[in-house]
């Protein structure tokens, strides 16, 4: 699907710090975390410092006092992306947020209390914060975004579904601009999941899968002549159930894009890295020098911004494939257009 989505705002919260500079140049620090099922076994994780003043300020907001960490990641990244947008513009702004596991920390805490202390101990303060769209509601209410609002679920490719949704809303005239976000929070239960999936086998740091957390967002509108960063094509929905099927799905997906486009690599630490290497072989490739870990939809959002940072207006479009780790493959084409002055 050809699109003409201009990026007019960006925001990021990463384990390397808060803001775009941290996203592009920061270095995250590993924390060793034990598995829930095997407390004797630890694995490195990139976690966000909730005491960062940029995140602490949101924890004092009355509506957000009981919110889960993912809400703080989201609201801070959203505020960065919305910088300069006044109240009347915010009132015409839609919000679509992609999640994979969503409010995992509170969901785990809520269910663990049921299992270990019985159903009577279930916390009415926790339960509403386990719902996928609670963080979306918090962001919309706190930043007064009065346009449409969706929480979307899925693997990494939910980020692409969110971009597609933004395009639809702009085409339909539902909003003047849309804030598209991806966010995840880490919980040690996910380490057990990755362990069971066989994703924690690689010990060598250069290729190791490191679970992570955070958020990022882009504020988009229909592109005008003054806009330079443009998402010009979105393709998704190529499903798979095995690695050979993923290779075939990726081939079908990438065939939808210009063969000359360079390709941004992002699967170097994931189970689909062979698929990426095989399919990107005939293209010029680029990658980020810094690894921020794996945070599903948040990683997809981070990588979109990092891919843009590597583009210049002299080159053609760059292809950014999103290797959904459990369902499907999708990709977007990014262009940096020359700006013309009158």
């Amino acid at each position: 699907m050809k699109t003409d989505l201009a990026i007019i705002g960006q925001g990021a919260v990463t384990p390397a710090g808060v803001g775009l500079d941290a996203l592009l140049r920061g270095n995250p620090v590993e924390t060793m975390v034990p598995l829930v099922s095997r407390p004797d076994r630890q694995w490195p994780v990139y976690k966000i410092n909730l005491k960062d003043p940029a995140l602490e300020r949101w924890q004092k907001e009355p509506r957000l006092r009981r919110a889960s960490p993912i809400t703080y990641f989201l609201v801070e990244a959203a505020e960065q992306a919305l910088a300069g947008l006044d109240a009347s513009a915010r009132a015409q702004t839609g919000l679509v947020v992609a999640f994979s596991t969503g409010c995992l920390a509170y969901s785990r805490r809520f269910f663990e209390s049921i299992v270990t202390q019985g159903q009577k101990s279930a916390s009415p303060a926790l339960f509403p914060e386990t719902v996928f769209n609670s963080p979306v509601s918090h962001v919309a209410a706190t930043l007064r975004l009065e346009g449409a609002a969706y929480a979307l679920a899925g693997d990494e490719t939910a980020w692409i579904a969110a971009l597609r949704t933004a395009w639809l809303w702009l085409e339909q005239g539902r909003c003047k601009q849309v804030l598209v976000m991806g966010a995840e929070e880490f919980d040690s239960a996910s380490l057990d999941a990755y362990q069971n999936a066989g994703w924690l086998r690689q010990r060598e740091a250069a290729q190791r899968f490191v679970p992570s957390e955070g958020a990022a967002g882009v504020l988009v509108r229909k592109a005008g002549p003054e806009d330079s960063m443009v998402l010009s094509q979105i393709e998704d929905g190529f499903i798979y159930r095995s690695k050979p099927q993923a290779l075939a799905a990726g081939r079908r997906c990438l065939a939808e894009f210009e063969a000359k486009s360079s390709c941004f690599l992002s699967a170097q630490h994931q189970w689909l890295k062979d698929v990426e290497q095989s399919l990107a072989r005939d293209r010029q490739t680029q990658e980020s020098a810094i690894y921020l870990g794996e945070a599903s939809t948040a990683s997809a959002a981070w990588n979109t911004l990092r891919a843009f940072s590597l583009l210049d207006s002299e080159n053609g479009p760059m292809l950014f494939p999103v290797w959904g780790s459990t369902h499907q493959i999708g990709a977007v084409a990014l262009e940096k257009k020359k700006q013309f002055s009158n």
Binding site: Q119, R144, E171
Partner: protein, 406 residues
């Protein structure tokens, strides 16, 4: 581009039946599916009853394949199959005739039952055979199960806007078709009862220990349920190419977020009024033309009062020309599937003229007492019907369905 959108296929699995026809007959007959909940232990809960669906057989799947499916997938697959068959999109082997079919779907908990099993095991330090449950609990796995079982792929969107998700997923599908982004979209929602969610509503004291009484002064909470409903939405031209007659038009959609509170609507229901006005405007109808509303009507003290107030404001002087009922007393609150299952009931009312009665009424709340559907009401001729949903986080959505007069 704004194109007309029609519905050509519907399918459902609900606590009242394994398909649309059985569900509708039971609903119109005034039956309800409330029963003791046996899917998991509830001994620490206040409430012990729910509306549970019987899982339909899935012919063609081997026992091992069935075992891999979450309860949510077991609900979704037969409902999708029924919808695709009605729309003439299945071949003789029960596979999709179109290899690429965009999918807009809703849920709140996905295959959470598998997630619960995984968490239980790791908390007791069990180390083996855990991959199956954890790999299949996330919502995209139920979407993948449906796609693989029916043989199609294509862009999918999983809306998780709490209890308004189903209406959002359907409205989104309609907008995709209307905007020319797709000619045909499969849409709907599914939800399976799970312990985490059941205990969650129980600890909020949102579930009732008595009868579920939507829009009654003595209402004391909701009845949880489960189910799935799916639709094929497309352009009339696309349907005509296959020789398929549209069931109705999907003419209006509105949605917005209420900022008042995470779990409570604004007391005057103003956001819902705005949402219904948006849906009516996009359908090109006035409130007086809407003959039936399938209300959200959870039977919680806070929701129903605000919702009733918003109907008074929206319909103004024409309130007495419409009929309203909440079907949650019959099938329970199906959460992420509610917007889809209840849209089905609004469509069935539109095309049959039969109206689902408001069950368990003793003392109807005065704001809308005169328009709540009574048992055994005579059928009416409807031109437009509306389905309304609200959810945690302030999600509000309304869909309007109109008689296909072409």
């Amino acid at each position: 581009m704004k194109r007309e959108v029609v519905i050509t296929g519907m399918g459902a699995v609900t606590p009242l039946g394994e398909n649309v026809s059985d569900t509708w007959k039971a609903l119109i007959a005034g039956k309800d599916a409330e029963a003791p909940l046996e899917l998991f232990d509830t001994k620490g809960c206040r409430c012990h009853r729910a509306a549970t669906a019987t899982l339909p057989a899935l012919p063609g799947l081997r026992a091992k394949e069935l075992q891999r499916l979450s309860r949510a997938s077991r609900l979704a697959i037969p409902a999708v199959r029924e919808a695709l068959a009605m729309a003439g999109l299945l071949d003789s082997a029960g596979r999709s005739l179109v290899p690429v079919l965009p999918f807009s779907v809703s849920t709140t908990a996905g295959g959470m039952g598998f997630g619960e099993a995984f968490l239980r095991d790791i908390l007791v330090h069990k180390r083996s055979r855990l991959l199956g449950p954890v790999a299949r609990y996330l919502p995209e796995q139920q979407v993948l199960d449906v796609q693989v079982a029916l043989g199609f792929e294509g862009p999918s969107l999983i809306v998780a806007n709490a209890c308004a998700s189903g209406a959002n997923a359907i409205g989104h599908a309609a907008e995709m078709v209307s905007a020319g982004m797709a000619d045909c979209v499969l849409t709907g929602g599914f939800e399976a009862l799970t312990e985490l969610v059941f205990v969650g509503f129980d600890c909020l004291q949102a579930t009732t220990t008595e009868r579920c009484r939507p829009f009654d002064l003595k209402r004391s909470g909701l009845l949880l349920g489960e189910g799935a409903a799916f639709f094929v939405v497309e352009t009339p031209e696309n349907a005509k190419r296959r020789g398929v007659q549209p069931i109705c038009r999907l003419s209006g959609y509105g949605h917005r977020t209420d900022f008042f509170h995470l779990t409570q609507p604004q007391p005057q229901g103003q956001v819902l009024v705005d949402v219904m006005r948006e849906a009516a405007k996009s359908a090109g109808v006035s409130s007086s033309e809407i003959g039936y509303v399938n209300a959200h009507g959870t039977a919680t003290p806070v929701n129903d009062g605000a919702e009733a107030q918003s109907y008074r404001t929206f319909f103004e002087n024409s309130l007495d020309q419409t009929r309203i009922s909440s079907t949650k007393a019959a099938i329970g609150h199906t959460l992420g599937a509610a917007g889809a299952v209840e849209a089905l009931f609004a469509i069935q009312a539109l095309i049959t003229g039969e109206l689902p009665p408001q069950l368990n009424l003793q003392s109807p709340i005065p704001e809308i007492a005169s328009v709540l559907v009574k048992e055994n009401e005579a059928p009416r001729t409807l031109r437009h019907a509306m389905s309304v949903n609200l959810g945690f986080g302030g999600s509000n959505a309304a869909l309007i369905f109109s008689r296909n007069e072409n």
